[in-house]
Amino acid sequence: MIQIEYFLFVSAIMMFAGIYGFITRKSTLAILLSIELMLNAADINFAVFNRLLYPNGHEGLFFAIFGIAIAAAESAVAIAIMINIYRQLQNISVDQLTKMKW
Amino acid sequence: MNFLSIFVLIPLLMLLGLWAARNLNQVRGVMVTGSTALLALSVYLVFAFLDARSLDPQSEMLFVKSIEWFPPLHITYTVGVDGISVAMLLLSAVIVFTGTFASWQLRPLTKEYFLWFTLLSMGVFGFFITIDMFAMFMFYEIALIPMYLLIGVWGSGRKEYSAMKLTLMLMGGSAFLMCGIFGIFYGAGGQTMNIIDIANQTGGAHAIDGNWQMLWFPMTFVGFGILGALFPFHTWSPDGHASAPTAVSMLHAGVLMKLGGYGCFRIAMYLLPEAANELSWIFLILTGISVVYGAFSACVQTDLKYINAYSSVSHCGLVLFAICMATETASVGAILQMLSHGLMTALFFALIGFIYGRTHTRDIRELAGLMKIMPFLAVCYVIAGLANLGLPGLSGFVAEMTIFVGSFENPGTFYTAMTVIACTSIVITAVYILRLVGKILYGTPTNPHHLQLTDATWDERFSVICLILAVAGLGLAPFWVSDMIQTGVHPVIEQLQAAGSLFDSHSNPFL
């Protein structure tokens, strides 16, 4: 049986890769991808903890599935917004989108 | 329903009327009706007050009526008048009345202009009828805010800058004031916001701890003093007045600046007597500076309104100066000076507005020989000028003399010296007034375009004549006003004397 630490190690890498990406990337699309990474890292953790620590329960799995669904919905909305912004401004880089600031 | 509240009610009705008004004539109709009603009411109040006072010489305030407003904080809507507020209400009504006529020709957005104008007057009237500190503060704020829009929208010159400056400085004053008011409220036990109740509670205003008074007094005095153009917080006045439209300058210099003096006297001196005795020397010096400094500054200005604004700094400085002298006569003089300055300066601003409306310049280097072109306005200007420099028979003389005699009642070199310094202002005033009269009214017209200009129209004549009559009336028969004011001043001075005297001040290095 694989040790729990291995799972957590992977999800931690994904999580921090996501955070790093979220903070540093300028493209909104890349930021969205980073968010997905973080969500997936969380999903992995849910599934792993549920499977290894509470084998009789299903709450963690449910939560992971919810997470996946929400991620899907969120990326749909996000990409829709991005496309709209791109249509308006021909740009989706976050530091350029200052039109509605101040 | 107490009839004092009608002073607030009429402006409210006027606001409704203006809101419903469909055209210029209706707007004017509402304004004339309303301001005439206010004037009539204030005249009625004078007689009613004199009547009631003769029946009841004891109570400090007459026509008192109190309505609970916000019980948890002991805020009430309490109205009541004494001789001082009656005089101030009369002054305000006269200025609002003449101000209406002075802005007869105002364009554009006449309706909106009058809406704000009426709101402002409501604040002013409300301030003078209430004796509850919180309600007073509220009306004070109501009077301040419209000023921003009136100057910012209908003003001239650097109007946005001036409007912003005026509002910010006065708001800064309000912040001090609010601290002071809450300080007094909690210092006096946190049971009432009513000025009279605080003053007459067990132990009087001395129930407020002396050390705390030392903190609240400067706050309150400066808070109101900013509005009364206390040096060095006076700089909003020249810019604000210069940019404001005619009637707003009139109302502002004529009435709003009096809120400052009135508040200083009614709240700072009355409720914080120990601190007043202790610290008034500082303010005496500041106001003494105001008096001379304003007059000297006015000597070299080139804009008519700046000259008058600095002259207001000097004259309002004299009001606060007299209040700080804390003698009965000087305080009566202070109130008389408020009346006199209110009328005089309103007259001045009205005339400047009319001249500006014709020549489109207020620069005295570009104006000359107006006596030939617009004799009526020029003669009135001379009269206003003479009133300003204290010609006997007009109001300025009465007020100044009362102040000087009253200030001299304080023995001691410091007070005598301050009075003598203040006396020099009468000479400097003469210098700038005569310089002005000589430059713009006398001589021959230099600008050929000015030759086509016409003299005053009927509405302008009407408002100017009303003001001149008021100035002359006060100057010729000061005794009845001064008697009326005396009854109002008396309790405050008693309170101050009960707290000791100016000579007990330990902090005053000049004693």
């Binding site: 955070i19 979220f22 903070i23 990337r25 976050v94 200052t98 101040w102 | 912003m164 400056k165 400085m169 006076h234 700089t235 909003w236 810019d239 400094y293 000297f296 500054s297 000597c299 070299v300 200005q301 003698t327 009965e328 006569t329 006596m371 030939k372 009526f376 003669v379 003479l386 204290g390 010609l391 006997p392 003389f397 003399m401 009362t402 000087f404 005699v405 009253g406 001299f408 009642e409 023995p411 001691g412 006396c423 009468i426 000479v427 003469a430 210098v431 005569l434 310089r435 000589g438 009214l441 006398y442 001589g443 021959t444 004549r461 004549i465 000061p478 005794f479 005396q486 005297s501 000579f503």
Partner: protein, 656 residues
């Protein structure tokens, strides 16, 4: 004496009637024709004059009191403005000097009103002129009838303003504007001292009244004074009452054009000539003298030593003005300086009074100067008004003020010539005419005070005779300006202008024979004027010598001696002509120092420093906001980074 109220009310009503209604409120054109305005003014003044004479007659013929003085009558007095323990009254006070002043003012004023009919004929602003004249007359009468020092101050200011308005009557002329401004500001400056004097006096004497006598009382609320080191009584008697009186004298010196506050008077001649006659020669300028006379008992009681200030200021002024008058070429200026010099005579006389002997504070003999001063005030008003009105006729005829444009006018204007000559002889002190008597009393008083002063004033009297006859010869004799007169022959003025001259010169002739000492004297008791033979002879001889000198130098068609004298001392001549550059000094002080060094820096300080400070506050707030704003970048990534750091920080905190 109840009718005296009309003496004040009538001119006031005529002022309001002519002035206010004429303001043309209704825009329907002038309400009064020129004639109507003049008639209203003159007729009301005529009634006032009659009333004044009636008052004087009733007053001086009334029974004297047991101590030989005339009763002081106060027909009206009411509290105009209560001022704490003090009160400010308005009323009417009749005593010998105020009644005497009533007569002087109403007479001269009536003459001037009448004269102005001709002189101001056709001027623009004729109504305005009469309105101002009425205002002035009312104020001046109010001043002399004042029951207290404060009322005096009130009317004092009013006469100042009417003087300002009348000097600036020709308001399109820059010289008139400047002169009116100068007159008002200089006198106002002096008035400030007067006011402070009144305040001190009112405070320590606890009264503004003149009739206050006895010791200075302690204040009732004496508690207030315990903190003051010096008790009120001591302070008052020893130092402060004299100070107050001297301050009041400074006010009087301003109005009466004493050195160095005299500079406004010569310039005031920019006004219409009848105004100069009324205000700047006969009435208003003697207000200062009148004020000292009013406060005379105070001076005697509390400040007899300080009177020496009055003496020496007066003596200096008398000499200075006489010296300047000797070289002026503008005839009105010569008369103006002569006025200054003559008023200084009155001042000197008042100052030269000594306290009485024994238990009498004042006795008529030691205080001869008081009577002499009032007498001279009376006679001087008459002959100086006559001189000014005569000068007005001449200016009217020649259209110039300069002596060089005149000469030989005696043939063209016989009446003016005769009256002018009479007045000149009077002012020079030729025996028989009024000026001789009054001036003689003054010089006698001066000799009694100190021989130095006596000789000093005798010299000034000689100078008076000299410059007056220089003027007289310059106008009526000397070169005949036939060419200049050819296109416009000077002619005698209309009867409205000559009648006042004749009336005034008649008074000048007979005025000296009035038993003045019986009417007005220091104590109020009758005093017989006896000429001091020595003084009388000396001064007459000196006057005649001076006139002879003037005749020798100036009477001829050519004036070689005068030219030679000017050439001999050109600098002195120029300095005197420029009035010793005092005007320039004042100009320097006001413009360079007050405007440039005080006002401008204050105005700049206000804009730059004080206003700058508040602008700096606003700017600082703005800058701080701009700085802080960068933290709110709106960029979620920044927030996330901050969040992450915060989370890590918390984590670290929790671990350690």
């Amino acid at each position: 004496m109840e009718h005296t109220i009309f003496i004040l009310l009538l001119p006031l009503f005529s002022f309001l009637l002519i002035g206010v209604i004429d303001m043309d409120i209704t825009k329907t054109g002038k309400v009064w024709s020129h004639k109507a305005a003049g008639l209203i003014g003159t007729s009301s003044l005529a009634v006032v004059t009659l009333l004044s004479y009636l008052t004087a007659y009733e007053y001086f013929t009334a029974e004297r009191l047991t101590d030989g003085t005339f009763a002081t009558i106060v027909p009206y007095n009411f509290t105009w403005l209560p001022l704490g323990t003090l009160h400010f009254d308005l009323g009417i006070l009749l005593d010998p000097i105020s009644v005497m002043m009533l007569v002087v003012i109403s007479t001269v004023s009536l003459m001037v009103h009448l004269y102005s009919f001709g002189y101001m004929n056709g001027e623009k602003g004729f109504q305005r002129y009469y309105a101002f004249l009425s205002l002035f007359t009312m104020s001046m009468l109010g001043l002399v009838l004042a029951t207290n020092i404060f009322q005096m101050y009130l009317f004092w200011e009013l006469v100042g303003v009417s003087s300002y308005l009348l000097i600036g009557f020709y308001y399109t002329s820059p010289a008139a504007i400047a002169a009116s401004k100068k007159a008002f500001i200089v006198t106002r400056f002096a008035d400030m001292f007067f006011l402070v004097g009144i305040l001190i006096f009112g405070y320590f004497a606890e009264s503004f009244s003149f009739s206050f006598s006895g010791t200075i009382q302690l204040a009732e609320g004496a508690a207030a004074f315990q903190t003051v080191n010096i008790s009120k009584e001591v302070a008052a008697a020893g130092f402060l009452i004299p100070t107050a009186l001297v301050l009041m004298f400074i006010g009087g010196a301003g109005k009466s054009a004493m050195f160095p506050l005299h500079i406004w008077l010569p310039d005031a001649m920019e006004g219409p000539t009848p105004v100069s006659a009324l205000i700047h020669a006969a009435t208003m300028v003697v207000a200062g003298v009148f004020q000292i006379a009013r406060m005379f008992p105070m001076w005697m009681e509390y400040a007899p030593d300080s009177l020496s200030i009055v003496v020496w200021v007066g003596a200096l002024t008398a000499f200075y003005a006489a010296a300047v008058a000797c070289v002026q070429t503008d005839i009105k200026r010569v008369l103006a300086f002569s006025t200054i010099s003559q008023i200084a005579f009155m001042m000197v006389a008042l100052g030269a009074c000594l306290p009485g002997h024994g238990d009498h504070l004042i006795d008529n003999h030691s205080s001869l100067g008081y009577m002499a001063s009032m007498f001279h005030l009376f006679t001087h008003a008459m002959f100086k008004a006559c001189l000014f009105l005569g000068a007005g006729c001449i200016i009217h005829a020649v259209h110039s003020n300069e002596m060089s444009d005149m000469g030989g006018l005696r043939k063209y204007m016989p009446i003016t010539h005769a009256t002018f000559l009479i007045s000149c002889l009077a002012i020079a002190g030729i025996p028989g005419l009024s000026g001789f008597f009054s001036k003689d009393e003054i010089i006698t008083a001066c000799f009694a005070y100190s021989p130095l002063l006596g000789w000093w004033m005798t010299v000034v009297a000689a100078m008076t005779a000299f410059y007056m006859f220089r003027l007289y010869y310059g106008i009526f004799w000397g070169k005949d300006n036939s060419e200049a007169y050819a296109h416009h022959t000077p002619h005698e003025a209309s009867w409205t202008m000559t009648v006042p001259l004749i009336v005034l010169s008649l008074i000048t002739i007979v005025g000296g024979w009035i038993p003045f000492g019986h009417l007005v004297s220091a104590t109020g008791q009758a005093y017989d004027i006896h000429l001091n033979t020595q003084v009388a002879v000396t001064s007459s001889v000196i006057a005649i010598v001076a006139i002879g000198l003037a005749t020798w130098i100036f009477a001829g068609k050519q004036q070689p001696i005068a030219q030679k004298m000017y050439a001999a001392a050109p600098r002195l001549h120029r300095w005197a002509y420029k009035r010793f550059y005092l005007d320039e000094v004042y100009q320097f002080v006001t413009h360079r120092i007050i405007f440039r060094r005080i006002s401008s820096p204050i105005a700049r300080f206000d804009r730059r420093v004080i206003d700058g400070f508040f602008d700096f506050l606003a700017w600082g707030t703005h800058r701080t906001a701009a700085l802080i704003r960068n933290f709110q970048s709106g960029n979620v990534q920044h927030y996330a980074f901050a969040f992450l750091l915060g989370a890590l920080l918390l984590l670290l905190l929790m671990i350690f």
